[in-house]
């Protein structure tokens, strides 16, 4: 074993080991390099040994950083080929040909190329002292064919819309490779990409034929295709061919299906719009039938909750045409023939102040008119909130609130209750058109305004409570214990009327004496003194004629409706 170590520089060492054995002569080259300096010196080394056609091959090297060795004389290539039946097989020979036009290359012609033989290549210095690099290979392993030529494509078929198509790509094998004889068997790989893409798509399968079908090309898009080949059974591919541009313009002469669809849709929309516009009303009726408003079958619960008794009673005592509707569905309300219709319109229970205020009399019409129960559903338009003011609460019936607030015509004073003495009068009748006729003044009896007013307000408030009580506890809801009169109906009347609790019977002073006739023209009023603990009204005796004549008691058996009771107030 011979060892030779050649220090190249302070930090490099090239060591050579020659090992002799009966059968083998190995040359092991170990190259130690340590880059202590940043500038690393690269020594000449073999870059590649390539055969293009399996008939010849070449080896190239790089001189590295040693520029002084750039001329071919400085570096020499030696080879040894184990070729059978050649006596000089085991000897090193120098490169048969250094091509003059190329630098750092050694070319092996056909005579020096043996395919299934092992070659050893060495790169040595000029004086044969330094071995720079070495390589061993078989020629069939270093075959890299030339790229194919003459790529061209033909359209195979296109989609029905013309936006996609398939092409048949064909090419010629490289002329250097003798495929005719069968000396080289080539496999081809096709790649494609869109012109603006960086990435090439590779067809997975290699083809042995010189054509290939490519699918799914888009019209109006530029594509590039390229082909490369390798030896069948080999490992290395050759260079790629030149790229071929594939482009198919989108045919404009084809029937514009998309345009037709859009135009047809727009046309249909236009026709439909015309139809809708012309038949708008009919369509509206069909599509959106008018919603019937609610018919008031009973007491508006909102009014009850708010405790606006007067509005409520005004509703109840509303124009006579409504009354049948109010009463028909109540089981306990026997519809007794209303003398109201005979005797004219019932009076809407209004506040006395309102009643006595003649200037407001003209408003009554509005009030009653204002409350109309029609199908438009305006029944609840009369917002109880409008009468929140205690003073004004009595001024407007629920019915009249809507219209009353809007009434400022004729210079009428606003509907605040005029601060004035309480005056009582009796409403003799209410005309159908809403006019209220009052009894003549001399028949009226006056109270002190203040007391009356206070009491009235207290009464109203109490009335509210009572009324609320009545309504909430008693299903019938119409047995009003409000009772300003001293005349109480007989017990049997009361009992026949209702089965309400006992405590309600007390204040029931009304006497149902004259059910079928109107009250005598002489009004009897009394003033409520206070409300006892049983929520019954205590009337002042003798200040006013005690008798409280029922205004009108059309019902039999002492049956009283709230509106009747209200009329009995003094």
């Amino acid at each position: 074993m011979i060892f030779v170590g050649i220090p190249m520089q302070a930090n490099h060492l090239l060591c050579y080991y020659w090992i002799s054995a009966p059968h083998l002569t190995w040359l092991i080259t170990t190259y130690y390099s340590a880059d202590w300096n940043n500038s690393s010196i690269k020594y000449p080394h073999l870059t590649s040994c390539v055969s293009n056609n399996m008939e010849t091959f070449y080896c190239r090297w790089d001189v590295g950083t040693m520029q002084s060795l750039s001329n071919s004389e400085a570096v020499r290539l030696f080879f040894m080929a184990k070729i059978r039946l050649q006596p000089s097989s085991n000897e090193w020979h120098e490169c048969p040909h250094y091509p003059p036009e190329k630098l750092n290359e050694c070319f092996f012609s056909e005579n020096y190329t043996y395919i299934w033989s092992e070659y050893s290549i060495q790169l040595r210095s000029r004086d044969n002292t330094i071995l720079y690099d070495e390589k061993t290979f078989n020629v069939e392993d270093i075959v890299e064919p030339d790229p194919p030529l003459d790529l061209n494509w033909t359209m195979l078929n296109a989609s029905s819309t013309g936006s996609f198509y398939d092409i048949l790509l064909s090419w010629l094998p490289p002329p250097s490779a003798d495929v005719k004889m069968g000396w080289m068997t080539l496999e081809y790989e096709v790649q494609q990409r869109k012109a603006d893409s960086e990435h090439w798509d590779t067809q997975a399968e290699l083809v042995k034929s010189t054509h290939r079908t490519l699918y799914g090309f888009q019209s109006n898009v530029n594509y590039e295709v390229r082909v490369r080949c390798k030896r069948h059974g080999g490992k290395k591919f050759g260079e790629f061919s030149d790229s071929l541009v594939v482009h198919v313009p989108l045919e404009a002469s084809r029937f514009p299906v998309v345009a037709l669809l859009i135009f047809g849709t727009l046309f249909l929309i236009a026709i439909m719009t015309l139809v809708i516009l012309s038949q708008q009303e009919k369509l509206m009726v069909i599509l959106l039938p008018p919603v019937p408003g609610p018919k008031i079958r009973g007491i508006e619960p909102e009014l009850l909750m708010k405790g606006k008794v007067d509005e409520l009673t005004s509703i109840l005592g509303a124009p006579p045409e409504l009354r049948p509707e109010l009463y028909t569905n109540d089981p306990w309300v026997e519809f007794i023939d209303l003398d109201f219709e005979e005797q004219g319109d019932r009076i809407v229970n209004l506040d006395r102040d309102l009643l006595t205020d003649r200037s407001l009399l003209s408003n009554f019409a509005h009030l009653s008119i204002g409350f109309r129960d029609d199908d438009s559903g305006h029944a609840s338009c009369c917002d109880p909130d409008l009468g929140s003011d205690a003073d004004t609460s009595g001024t407007a019936a629920a019915a009249g609130l809507c219209s009353v607030t809007s009434i400022t015509t004729a210079g009428n004073t606003p509907l605040e209750v005029p601060v004035r003495e309480a005056m009582y009068t009796q409403v003799s009748e209410v005309k159908p058109y809403g006019k209220v006729l009052l009894s003549p003044e001399d028949e009226m009896e006056y109270n002190t305004a203040k007391d009356a007013k206070e009491i009235k307000t207290a009464e109203n408030k109490k009335a509210k409570y009572d009324f609320q009580l009545v309504v909430s506890s008693d299903h019938r809801g119409y047995t009003s214990e409000l009772n300003a009169g001293k005349n109480s109906p007989t017990r049997e009347d009361v009992s026949s009327l209702t089965s309400s609790p006992e405590d309600y019977q007390k204040p029931y002073h009304e006497s149902v004496t004259n059910p079928t006739s109107y009250i005598t023209p002489s009004p009897v009023y009394t003033v409520v003194e206070n409300v006892d603990r049983q929520n019954s009204l205590v009337l002042t005796p003798n200040s006013i004629p005690a008798l409280v004549v029922l205004k009108a008691l059309p019902t039999t058996d002492g049956y009283l409706t709230p509106d009747l009771l209200e009329n009995i107030t003094p």
Binding site: L27, R84, W116, G233
Partner: protein, 230 residues
């Protein structure tokens, strides 16, 4: 995993054996006689397969044995005394009969060593010499042995057909390779005790020879069949 791969290999082998069933050369009824083109195709497929398996095995061995890719001189092959055309010029000068003979000699020279290789690989596996790859490689060796045998039979039939069709200019009987050399063929690679190095050398030679066979068959095909896409 080993069992699965073994099963897969056996299954593949079964399929292949079915696929490459012996051609009915006796003209039995209901058995269509293959044409020369069919024979060539089949033979080409098998030689490609042969070359592929041997390349895989050899690269496996080389990677396992010499991972650092040292430069080592390769040993001579036991088929070195078979004169084979080494370049295109020589291949053009040789005629079809000689080429066919060369092919047959090469194939014949490898029949025995391959079966012995398989056996020795299986022994290695049993001795737990190697890792998982030795199991798969012994299967591959078995596969190669079978493929080699079938390839040789196919080429024989093909040669007979060519002779019948007058492809050979001189009606020379196809020389059967000598049988005597086979016994020492495997021993040619032994360096004493059996080792993986021996396997590697053998595989290297096998790969080279299978490449030769494939190429020669291609040349034969292109020269014999007219109008073929060569």
């Amino acid at each position: 995993m080993k069992r699965v791969s073994f099963l897969v290999v056996m299954l593949a082998q079964l399929l292949l054996s079915v696929a490459s069933a012996p051609i009915c050369a006796y003209g039995q009824t209901g058995c269509p006689l293959p044409t020369l083109a069919d024979l060539f195709d089949r033979v080409m497929q098998q030689s490609s397969r042969m070359h592929g398996i041997s390349s895989d095995l050899q690269s496996q061995f080389e990677h396992y044995l010499f991972p650092s890719k040292n430069m080592l001189g390769k040993w001579k092959c036991h088929t070195h005394d078979i004169l084979t055309p080494g370049n295109k010029q020589n291949a053009q000068n040789i005629d079809r009969e000689q080429l066919t003979e060369v092919i047959l000699r090469l194939l014949g020279a490898w029949g025995d060593p391959l079966s012995q290789l398989h056996q020795s690989m299986r022994q290695d596996h049993n001795k737990n010499h190697g890792r998982d790859f030795s199991h798969s490689s012994s299967n591959k060796a078995l596969e190669m042995s079978d493929v080699m045998q079938e390839l040789r039979d196919g080429v024989l039939k093909m040669a007979e057909k060519m002779k019948l069709q007058g492809a050979f200019s001189n009606a020379v009987a196809v020389v059967q390779p000598e049988e005597a050399r086979h016994s020492s063929a495997f021993a040619f690679y032994k360096r004493g005790t059996l080792s993986l190095l021996d396997h590697n050398d053998l595989l290297y030679c096998l790969r080279r020879d299978s490449d030769k066979v494939k190429n020669y068959l291609r040349i034969l095909q292109c020269s014999t069949l007219p109008g073929l896409e060569c």
